[in-house]
């Protein structure tokens, strides 16, 4: 099997030095973790490895041999497989076709659909994923699509496999599967690269790690287990960070938001919950538990079959997101790319799209100066890494895009209820810490904050109270004092399954 070496790699985009003389090496049978703040250049490095970008300088060596990839096909042919941060699938094709895209088996010139399904079914089974290879990707949940992507990479039988934040849209069960898979691949002697912002994961999987900051390599630790957590964080963000959740208990106000009997197409039964002003309410559950569905109903994004929402005792006629926003309820959606960003618009535009209606000149014209100022303020406040507010948002790193969407809602002046669906997905520790601070600040100002997260430590760390969902139902509620990983998981997992190894708490 092969070793992988980056030698003095550089890549410049207009206004951004994404990589600046990065060198390190990954060996066969090793999992090399890559860490770094959002925009540090991790994904860019993988895109160079995958033949998507040409480096502006430096060399890429596999088994000591210099490689120049001019297309993704070259990289695949050289035995490199990449699982990209932004999922790359074709929704109208089947699981089997997606997995074998570009390499469909043929018989006498015709696609051998049966063989394709069999091959993929075998591989899925080997990994431990239950999926029908004949289903179309459009019918699957994001997590399932992610598993398909992983299967695709594994099936290339590559010598070098790189994972770019593979767990960001997986929940517990799939994460387990993935971990097992990574360990197996390592034992087969492949060279693995693993990017994640979740330190627990890195500790569990990686043998060594390399830390990036601002496009530069800071350090490579050859033995991951020896490096203390604080050290990793300090290397990454360039400063010390104590408790990243930074929980502060607050005084809760009177009852503020009540959802009564919300009923929608994908929920088996009507759901209700209520919360006080100043409260941070966590929603936990496995993928597909129905948390997003519930919040979309509340927000007016999906058609309601029944139920009502009361805000400060007054019914909110939210039949569309616009109505909800007008009432002070905002939602930061889970699927950033599909539902969050206006890809070709600028950072400033993405921030101002909603709140600008308050500051119109004569009720009609935009105040460009004010909008620019607001954008700059948020870029500074949330440390959004962008060459300017005019940069197209799609050119930002994933984590920074997330911050821009968050800024969009924090800019709402009449904010009363802030719903965050997986807000820290793909966000670095430093930025997470900032987001948690913001969550607490917003709550402290008397707003309701709802946080959906599949990261158990996170919800436990920041929420005052936790609602757990399972199969479209609310399966239980935990207060901050009674909440623990085991308690939450017991409520989230299907009956009869227990003994799930809990990730170590910080």
């Amino acid at each position: 099997m092969s070793s992988l070496q980056f030698d003095n790699i550089s890549k410049v985009f207009p206004g951004v030095k994404a990589l600046n003389g990065v060198s390190f090496e990954a060996r066969p049978g090793q999992v090399m973790g890559l860490l770094g703040e959002n925009g540090a250049g991790k994904s860019t490095l993988l895109k160079i490895l995958g033949g998507q970008y040409k480096p502006d300088g430096g060399r890429l060596l596999i088994d000591g041999q210099e490689r120049h990839f001019t297309s993704a096909g070259d990289a695949i042919a050289a035995g490199v497989a990449i699982i990209h941060q932004e999922l790359q699938y074709v929704s109208e094709l089947t699981v089997a076709e997606n997995v074998l895209l570009g390499r469909l088996p043929t018989r006498m010139g015709f696609v051998d659909h049966k063989a394709a399904r069999r091959l993929v079914a075998e591989q899925l089974a080997a990994i431990g994923v239950e999926l029908d290879p004949a289903m179309r990707l459009s019918e699957l949940s994001i997590a399932q699509r992610q598993m398909v992507e992983i299967c695709k990479a594994v099936m290339q039988d590559a010598k070098v496999i790189a994972f770019d934040e593979p767990t960001s849209s997986l929940s517990h069960r799939e994460t387990e599967i993935l971990f097992r898979l990574v360990k197996r691949l390592r034992s087969e002697g492949r060279t693995l690269i693993y990017i994640s912002h979740r330190l627990e994961e890195l500790y569990e999987l990686c043998d060594a790690c390399t830390i990036f900051r601002d496009g530069r390599k800071i350090v490579t630790h050859e033995v991951m287990a020896d490096v203390p957590r604080e050290r990793l964080i300090a290397d990454m963000v360039g400063r010390e960070l104590q408790d990243i959740y930074d929980y502060r208990s607050r005084q809760h106000g009177p009852m503020r938001l009540e959802a009564r009997g919300l009923h929608g197409e994908r929920l088996p039964e009507p759901l209700s919950f209520a919360m006080r002003g100043g409260e941070v309410l966590g929603f936990f559950g496995l993928v597909g538990a129905g948390r997003s569905e519930l919040m979309r109903l509340l927000y007016g994004a999906d058609a309601r079959r029944g139920g009502e929402v009361l805000l400060d005792g007054q019914p909110v006629a939210a039949s569309s997101p616009a109505d909800a926003i007008a009432a002070g309820i905002v939602l930061c959606p889970e699927d950033r790319k599909e539902q969050g960003i206006l890809a070709h618009s600028s950072v400033a535009e993405n921030i101002n799209i909603s709140c600008r209606r308050h500051g119109l000149l004569g009720g009609v014209f935009l105040r460009h100066g004010q909008e620019a100022q607001r954008a700059d303020d948020f870029i500074k406040k949330l440390r959004i890494k962008t060459p300017s507010r005019e940069q197209e948002i799609r050119l930002l790193s994933g984590g920074n895009q997330q911050k821009v969407i968050l800024a969009r809602w924090l800019a709402e002046p009449g904010l009363k209820v802030l719903i965050l669906d997986e807000p820290t997905r793909g966000i670095d520790v430093g930025a997470k810490n900032e987001i948690y601070k913001i969550i607490h600040d917003v709550a402290a100002s008397g707003c309701c904050v709802i946080v959906i997260s599949s990261e158990l430590p996170e919800v436990l760390g920041i929420a005052d109270r936790l609602i757990v969902m399972r199969d479209g139902r609310i399966s239980g509620e935990l207060t901050r004092d009674t909440a623990s990983e085991t308690a939450a998981l017991a409520l989230a997992l299907p009956d009869g399954i227990s003994g799930v190894p809990a990730a170590p708490l910080h």
Partner: protein, 315 residues
């Protein structure tokens, strides 16, 4: 109803809808259900049908081709001219097809490699090719006298003229191509998500050029057959043809956003277009009202399809 049965019904609702329409028309419209009329109907959509096969691929790969009408005209004119000069049917057909291939490949290169917007690129070729057809023929129709060539247009096998067989053959070929070859699956992939296809090692640019090239060849073939049927190459033939073909595809469920195509749907789309036209003429509908009816039918068909997909989503 059991779920697979329902799925099947949904899958083929358009087909069933068309069959129903067909039966109703057979009973209500005089002369509709006669072999002469059915043959006439099929002949009237032969060209559209052939080109719809490749247009389906083109749309499925998220592209667009406005130049087909001009290509039909040019291939017909060229074929007729070659025939006039050389008297060789082989050369005439070869020349026409070659021209189609070149036009298609040109479109493909412009769009795939030079990244010109497909609408503009093919609008430009549409103009240029039409210009060439006029220039080559000096604006005059080029007559065809060769009986061998003309027989392509009207020789019948088992009661059906050759053009109908050719169209059926195209549907077969391209159906297989779409569903059972790597070419077809990759076409859907680059339409559904070009980036994903590229990252999976699909040679996106090359594939797109091939699709356009095929489209050019098939369109040229349609043009040659048309010229045989009307015994002349006409420089102003098939104006507006492109919109008819695209409509037939979209009626058949091919998505303009790429990534979705079903050959069966396209067959139905083509038949709907032809049937409407045919019945209106049988019923002697006033020319002005024909516009109205055609618009309404088009709307009705997509609305129906739309309601179906909506209902589906609800379930």
């Amino acid at each position: 109803m059991t779920s697979p049965a329902r799925a099947l019904l949904k899958e083929h609702s358009m087909t069933l809808g068309y069959l129903l329409l067909f039966v109703v028309l057979s009973f209500s419209v005089e002369n509709f259900f006669s072999s002469a009329n059915i043959v006439g109907l099929l002949l009237s959509v032969a060209q559209i049908g052939m080109v719809a096969c490749t247009m389906m691929l083109c749309l499925a790969s998220r592209d667009f081709d406005l130049s087909v009408g001009s290509t039909i005209a040019f291939a017909g004119v060229l074929g007729a001219m070659v025939l006039e000069r050389t008297g060789s049917v082989g050369l005439a057909i070869g020349g026409g097809l070659m021209a189609g291939a070149l036009i298609g490949a040109g479109n493909g290169v412009l769009i795939a490699y030079l990244r010109v917007n497909a609408l503009i690129a093919t609008l430009a070729t549409m103009l240029m090719v039409r210009g060439l057809a006029f220039i080559a023929s000096q604006g005059q129709a080029v007559g065809i006298a060769d009986e061998g060539f003309i027989s392509f247009g009207d020789t019948a096998f088992f009661g059906l003229p050759l053009p109908i067989w050719m169209t059926a053959f195209c549907f077969l070929i391209f159906g297989v191509l779409l569903n059972h070859t790597v070419f077809g699956r990759n076409t859907l992939a680059i339409g559904g998500n070009p980036e994903a296809a590229r990252l999976a090692g699909v040679r996106v640019e090359r594939l797109r050029v091939w699709i356009f090239l095929l489209q050019g060849v098939v369109t040229a073939l349609a043009g040659l057959i048309l010229s045989a049927r009307i015994t002349s190459g006409q420089p102003n033939a098939a104006t507006g043809f492109e919109l008819d073909v695209i409509s037939a595809c979209v009626l058949g469920g091919v998505s303009l956003q790429g990534g979705k195509a079903r050959i069966f749907g396209v067959v139905i789309g083509v038949l709907i277009m032809g049937t409407v036209e045919n019945v209106m003429n049988l019923l002697n509908v006033d020319a002005f009202y024909q516009y109205l009816v055609r618009g309404l039918i088009l709307l009705a068909a997509v609305l129906l399809d739309q309601l179906k997909t909506r209902g589906e989503r609800r379930n």
